[in-house]
Structures are given as structure tokens and as C-alpha cells.
């Protein structure tokens, strides 16, 4: 049974939200999706790579949090060990469900078993007269903004895919003197990037994709930081 339902004032009038990242949800995940807009902040902390969505085969930009399946090296005792928290971890228990046919139409959803839900602590979602509280309005704006950035991240990824810059590669690191590697990930091939026709290259620069691509490439070095957390 799904625990994610559409938020409505009849059922959820008295709910309050505690505002903190719900890290338990990703405790055994070795990656989370990130936005292209987050690349500059995250690139110095986490390897940002592309993986294929198992359901659709489409490429998704993710931050690596571990070196193998089910390993998350960024969370300890329910605390985030890094500096910047990927924004996807800040929304729970709220979410948006977008109408596929008309993307301006959406519904706000809530995960009813979230540990951030309370009846006594935190911010109210609805005022006594049943209208959305200012707090909820603010949260919805944040979600909408997140969704829009998600769309542009999708376009950014599509651009890289269409230019055939991605390539399945392994990311290697050393552990106790042994060479190891992460596979199943896709990275921009620098040679292909440099070989692009001038026109395409300028297009990438002008729409901001180029700096995001460099951010992605620079971020790969941070795999060593993850390895250090292993020890």
C-alpha cells in the first residue's frame, strides 16, 4: 500500500511538520538525484555522475554517496557528514505530483508515515479556517522551484546525450593499496567534448551547460573523499 497521498485539508488539517532532512530514507542508498543547478556547490564534495534509470533507461544526474550498492558513506547516526545537503533530501514528507498532460497542473502530496510529521511540534500546514498556512505556501514554492530545476536538469542531460558526449566508464580508486572501481556509471568523455564543432561548443557555453559539464568532471576527483570515509 502506498503511503504517499494527496495533501488535503480534510485529513491533514491538524498536521504539523518538523523541518529536518529525513536521512533514514536514503540510509542504504549509494546515490541520490541532483539538479544541474546544484553542481557548483556539490562538485567539491561528491562525485556527480550519470546513471540510467532502471525503469525508463533515461540518464539521470546523481551524486554518489557510496562506492557500492546499498552503501551510504555520507550518513552516520542520522547525521549528514558533508557540507551541502543535496536538495532532494530537504523536501520530505512533501512532494509534487505533476499532471503529465498539462505540466502547469500539480497536486501536493504527503508521505503519511514520515517521521517529520507531528501533531504537536513544528509548523502547521493549514490555518484554522482551513486555508493553506504561509509556511505551506512557502514549502510549495520551494517544491515548484525544485520541479522547474528538475526540468532544466533533464534538458541539460538530454543535450549531453544528444551530442553523444556520455560514455560508460569506470571510476577507479585505491583502497589499501589495491585498485578498485565503480562501474555502471556514465561520464562525459573529455576528448569528445574537445572535438565538438565550434558551433556546438559555443552553444554549450552560452546556455551554461559547459560550466556544469566541467563541474561534473571536476567532481570525479572527490571519489577520494568517499574512500577516506571508508577507513
Amino acid at each position: 500500500m502506498t503511503t504517499i497521498v494527496q495533501l488535503n485539508k480534510e485529513q491533514h488539517q491538524n498536521l504539523r511538520l518538523v523541518e529536518k532532512p529525513e536521512l533514514s530514507l536514503v540510509q542504504d542508498k549509494n546515490m541520490v538525484p541532483v539538479l544541474a543547478q546544484e553542481i557548483p556547490q556539490l562538485a567539491t564534495e561528491l562525485p556527480l555522475v550519470f546513471v540510467k534509470n532502471a525503469q525508463t533507461g533515461e540518464f539521470t544526474l546523481v551524486a554518489m554517496l557510496g562506492l557500492q550498492e546499498r552503501q551510504n558513506l555520507m550518513i552516520q547516526d542520522d547525521k549528514w557528514l558533508g557540507g551541502t545537503l543535496p536538495s532532494c533530501l530537504t523536501h520530505s514528507p512533501l512532494g509534487l505530483s505533476i499532471n503529465a498532460a498539462d505540466k502547469t497542473q500539480f497536486a501536493v502530496t504527503i508521505n503519511t508515515i514520515s517521521e517529520n510529521i507531528s501533531e504537536s511540534e513544528g509548523h502547521s500546514l493549514f490555518s484554522e479556517d482551513g486555508t493553506e498556512s504561509d509556511y505551506l505556501k512557502k514549502r510549495i514554492e520551494v517544491l515548484k522551484n525544485y520541479y522547474q530545476c528538475g526540468e532544466s536538469t533533464y534538458q541539460f542531460t538530454k543535450l549531453i546525450v544528444d551530442l553523444e558526449l556520455l560514455e560508460q566508464q569506470t571510476l577507479s580508486y585505491e583502497l589499501k593499496g589495491q585498485k578498485q572501481s565503480v562501474s555502471g556509471i556514465y561520464l562525459v568523455n573529455e576528448k569528445k567534448l574537445n572535438d565538438l564543432e565550434n558551433e556546438k561548443f559555443i552553444e554549450l557555453r552560452n546556455n551554461g551547460a559547459l560550466s556544469a559539464i566541467y563541474g561534473h568532471l571536476v567532481s570525479l576527483k572527490t571519489i577520494d573523499k568517499l574512500v577516506k570515509r571508508l577507513k
Binding site: K52, A54, Q55, T56, G57, E58, F59, V161, Q168, Y186
Partner: protein
């Protein structure tokens, strides 16, 4: 120099040839050569030919066609096998018996497990294909050969496609035009030959004369240039293969989510057999039969019975076929590709395969000038003839090994006098040893070791190893391999989606190039 080439005919063969020439001659950049395809707006293409073999994957990729586009534009589906139903025994005694000719070729190079399968006791021996490859069970479950995360043209298992013949020609046409092939519509009404018999030009009904150095006849069964005007004789093969007519029908699915089979189903009947090919929006079904062994009306009835009640509302179309091939395929400055070259019944989807292979051969052997035509033609004719003979042997095998004796058609088909000597020679050897790669002339043969293994042992051909038992002592290893294969089958089944589900995803999300 060969500067102008005309392709006559815009069916699958014409456009396959156009694509091959465009790539080989680099038409887009090459200022020296011009290839033009001419097609009659009035004479329709045959419009059948919906089953392919794995080579098609290579060809599409070579043409630079995205697999995603191909699926979206040609109503294409995955084909992993041909399932032969009721070919072995009389249907009244064992209804529904079948075997698969799979596309997954197990690697038997390092260790050959075939003899170990042969040494199992016949009554409790599992089906051959199912024992040596996980693909049989994947087909039986209607699963796809790959997942949505596989790159285009790659998968867990080998595969080919089912496709809509008209839409496929259309896609090939678009691609050939993109690659620089010129095109116009007109009917060719006459051929103007020099004294030595070479074609100088062809006359059209509406666009005047067209000159060229080389003419490629892709006019279909009419063989307009090579057969009709150059008089190259047709070599009938109706003494080996008896079917000479087809009745085809298009059967819509009952609803949008009806499952799509992962293989062609070829069901033997008393005077021929029925093909059943699942596309995305409909099935293509047809009865191929020998008019010497049944009447057209009876043949149509058999097809309608096979389709069931749904057939009552559906019309069908009869296509007469002549089995055999031209004596030569390249004569003077005229080369035939496609049905103009010859035809055998579509039992193993050899049509497109042979035409694709010969079109590529032509493209690669394309002489630089007219003086070289003769030597290129000689080589081309030798190779192509060999391919035809091999295909005929292989098709005949399916009939010859049958135990059916429930109609004259099967009795005649099993008569030794109806088999070719080359086939009889091979079978004689394989009575005491399983086939080997060395039985096959080269890797370029159309049907090779694996294909023969699937059909021979699918049809319970007996290879007696009693004198050679001593050579096969690695029973334990063999058992492990058999177990691994079935384990892999279970693993794949847990990973794979149904054929239709994956195809829907391909339509929605596309497949990635890498």
C-alpha cells in the same frame, strides 16, 4: 568509370541496395557517382516479408538508423526464435509438439556440450534448444531479449525483428535519400540494348529515357530487366520445395495490451504451413502451401480456421510464388537483387537476409570501370548461387526430417528423391557424429552450425555415438554447464519484461545509444 547506377524498384530489396550503395560509394561526398532509384507509382510492392534474422540489427546500425526510430516507425517487435509447431509428428497423435530455432548461439567452441545432450536417454531428455540456451524459456514466457537500460542494438540475448513491410521500405527510403540517393517515380516500359546485349538505357512511360552504366533489377517477381529483357533463365526448384502459393491476412489484436509473441510461430499443415508474426498493432498471418497438394479454397479455409472467429470479418490476399532462382544474377551490366533474383518460401526469413547480403556484396564488389564488370560478376554469381543452394538445403531439412505421413504433401517431401545430394551427404555423416564447423564452407554461409543443430536435434535427428562414447568423458562438467544454463534462464526471467511492455517503453522513452 562507373558513374551512373539505376536501381529499378522501390521494395525492400531496392531500398536495401540503395542504402548499401550509398554508404559504400559515399554518395554524400562523392561527386563522381550518381545512384537513382526509379519506382512505378502503379505497381505495388509485394508488401509481405515481416520476419528477419539477427543480421538485420547489424545492417540497421551500419545504415546509421537509430534502433529507437526503427521501432517507432515500423511497428517493430522483438523476434528471438522461430517456433516450429507440429513439424515433427502427425498432429492427431501429438498435437501441439514444437521446437525452437533460437537466435542465441551458445558458445560450444571451448567445450562442446552437444554430445552430452545426445548421450542422455531419449525419453527423459529435455528439448535440445531448452537444454543448451536460456532463450527457449524466455520465448515461451513471452519476454523481451533486453532491458530498457541496454544500449541500442545490444541485449542479454541475440534477437532480430518482426516489422511492417511497407513501413520498413519507407524508413529505408528516407534513409537512402538522406545518404544521397536520387529518386523518381515512373514505370519502365522498355529496355534499349547494345548489340552485345548490355543495357544502354531504359525508357519510362512519363520521364523519357534514363541512361546508366549499371542497372540493378529490384523489380520483384517480374524480374523485368534480368529475366524478361535479358532473357536469363529461371531455375525451378519445385522438385525440392513444393509450396507455390501464399494467402496472407492481417489480424488486429483484440485489445491494445494483448501479449506479443517473442518469436515467429510456424505451424505445419497438411499441404504447407502457416506463419504467425506479431507486430505492435496487428499480427501478420499467412498460409504457404502447395497447389499440387490442395486447392486455393481449401488453403484459405485452413488459414481461417487457424485464425479463428476473428477471421470472419477479415479479407485475405493470395500471392502466387515461383520457387527457385535465376541461372545467374549478374549478367552484362545488370544485377538482380531481391525477388527478381529468386525466391524460396519464407520459412526461415531468408528473403531479406539474402537480399541484404547480396546487396552488400554488390556494394563492396562494385567495379571501378566497365572492364572490371565481368570479373566482379563472376565472383558475385558464384557466391550468390552458393547462398541460394545452401538456403534450399536448409529449408528442405525441415521437411525431410519430419515423421509426418498424414498427407501426400509430407510423404512426397520425405522422399529421398526430393532431397538434394548435398543435403543427403551431410545427413549421412551426421548419423555417427554431430555437425562441426568444418562441415560449413565459411563463416559467410547463410546458415551455419548452430542453425543446423537447432533444426536437426529439434527434430530428433539421431546421431549414434555408441562407437565414439570414449571421447566424451567430461560428464560432470557437462552437467554443470546444463545447470548454469538453466540458472541463467531463471536469472534472466527475473530481469526481463514482457515483449509488449518493453516495446511500449521504447515508444515512450526511447533507447540510449550507449
Amino acid at each position: 568509370m562507373i558513374k551512373k547506377i539505376i536501381i529499378l524498384g522501390g521494395g525492400a530489396a531496392g531500398w536495401l541496395t540503395a542504402n548499401h550503395l550509398a554508404i559504400s560509394l559515399d554518395l554524400k561526398c562523392n561527386p563522381d557517382v550518381e545512384v537513382t532509384l526509379i519506382e512505378s507509382p502503379k505497381i505495388p510492392t509485394v508488401g509481405v516479408g515481416e520476419g528477419t534474422v539477427p543480421m538485420m540489427r547489424e545492417t540497421l546500425e551500419y545504415f546509421g538508423i537509430r534502433e529507437t526510430d526503427f521501432f517507432r516507425k515500423c511497428d517493430a517487435t522483438f523476434k528471438q526464435s522461430i517456433k516450429f509447431v507440429e513439424w515433427l509428428d502427425n498432429p492427431n497423435t501429438s498435437p501441439g509438439q514444437f521446437y525452437h530455432h533460437l537466435f542465441d548461439y551458445p558458445s560450444i567452441n571451448e567445450f562442446n556440450i552437444v554430445p552430452y545432450w545426445l548421450m542422455k536417454d531419449v525419453p527423459d531428455r529435455e528439448r535440445f534448444a531448452g537444454s543448451i540456451s536460456p532463450q527457449e524459456s524466455i520465448c515461451e514466457q513471452g519476454l523481451a531479449p533486453k532491458s530498457i537500460t541496454h544500449p541500442e542494438y545490444k541485449g542479454y540475448l541475440e534477437y532480430a525483428y518482426h516489422l511492417d513491410a511497407f513501413k520498413f521500405s519507407e524508413l529505408l527510403a528516407q534513409n537512402a535519400k538522406r545518404l544521397g540517393v536520387k529518386y523518381f517515380q515512373a514505370e519502365i516500359v522498355d529496355v534499349n540494348q547494345a548489340v552485345d546485349g548490355t543495357i544502354e538505357s531504359i525508357s519510362t512511360d512519363s520521364k523519357g529515357k534514363a541512361l546508366a552504366d549499371l542497372f540493378i533489377d529490384c523489380s520483384g517477381f517480374s524480374s523485368f530487366l534480368l529475366g524478361k529483357h535479358l532473357g536469363v533463365k529461371f531455375v525451378d526448384k519445385d522438385d525440392v520445395l513444393f509450396v507455390d502459393n501464399a494467402i496472407a491476412m492481417q489480424v488486429p489484436y483484440l485489445d491494445e495490451s494483448s501479449p506479443i509473441a517473442s518469436n515467429t510461430i510456424a505451424t505445419a499443415k497438411s499441404a504447407g504451413w502457416i506463419w504467425d508474426i506479431g507486430l505492435t498493432s496487428r499480427r501478420g498471418v499467412g498460409h504457404v502451401y502447395s497447389s499440387n497438394h490442395t486447392s486455393h479454397d481449401e488453403a484459405e479455409k485452413v488459414l481461417r480456421e487457424y485464425v479463428g472467429k476473428q477471421a470472419d470479418q477479415l479479407s485475405c490476399r493470395r500471392i502466387p510464388m515461383r520457387v527457385g532462382h535465376r541461372e545467374v544474377f549478374w549478367y552484362k551490366n545488370c544485377v538482380a537483387i531481391g525477388l527478381a533474383q529468386g525466391f524460396v518460401e519464407p520459412l526461415e526469413a531468408t528473403g531479406l537476409l539474402l537480399f541484404d547480403a547480396t546487396a552488400r556484396m554488390l556494394a563492396e564488389l562494385m567495379p571501378a570501370n566497365k572492364m572490371q564488370i565481368e570479373s566482379s560478376a563472376k565472383l558475385f554469381n558464384q557466391r550468390a548461387l552458393r547462398s541460394w543452394e545452401k538456403v534450399i538445403d536448409f529449408i528442405k531439412l525441415h521437411y525431410f526430417l519430419s515423421n509426418r505421413d498424414d498427407s501426400q504433401f509430407w510423404i512426397d517431401n520425405r522422399a529421398e528423391s526430393s532431397a538434394t545430394q548435398s543435403l543427403l551427404d551431410k545427413l549421412a555423416m551426421w548419423k555417427s557424429r554431430p555437425p562441426s564447423t568444418y562441415d560449413f564452407y565459411s563463416r559467410f554461409e547463410t546458415f551455419n552450425l548452430d542453425n543446423y543443430l537447432y533444426v536437426l536435434y529439434g527434430m530428433n535427428f539421431e546421431t549414434d555415438l555408441s562407437d565414439t562414447k570414449g571421447r566424451f568423458q567430461k560428464q560432470k562438467l557437462a552437467q554443470e554447464i546444463f545447470r548454469d544454463i538453466s540458472g541463467r534462464g531463471e536469472y534472466l526471467a527475473s530481469q526481463l519484461e514482457f515483449n509488449r511492455e518493453l516495446i511500449n517503453k521504447i515508444h515512450q522513452f526511447g533507447m540510449q545509444k550507449c
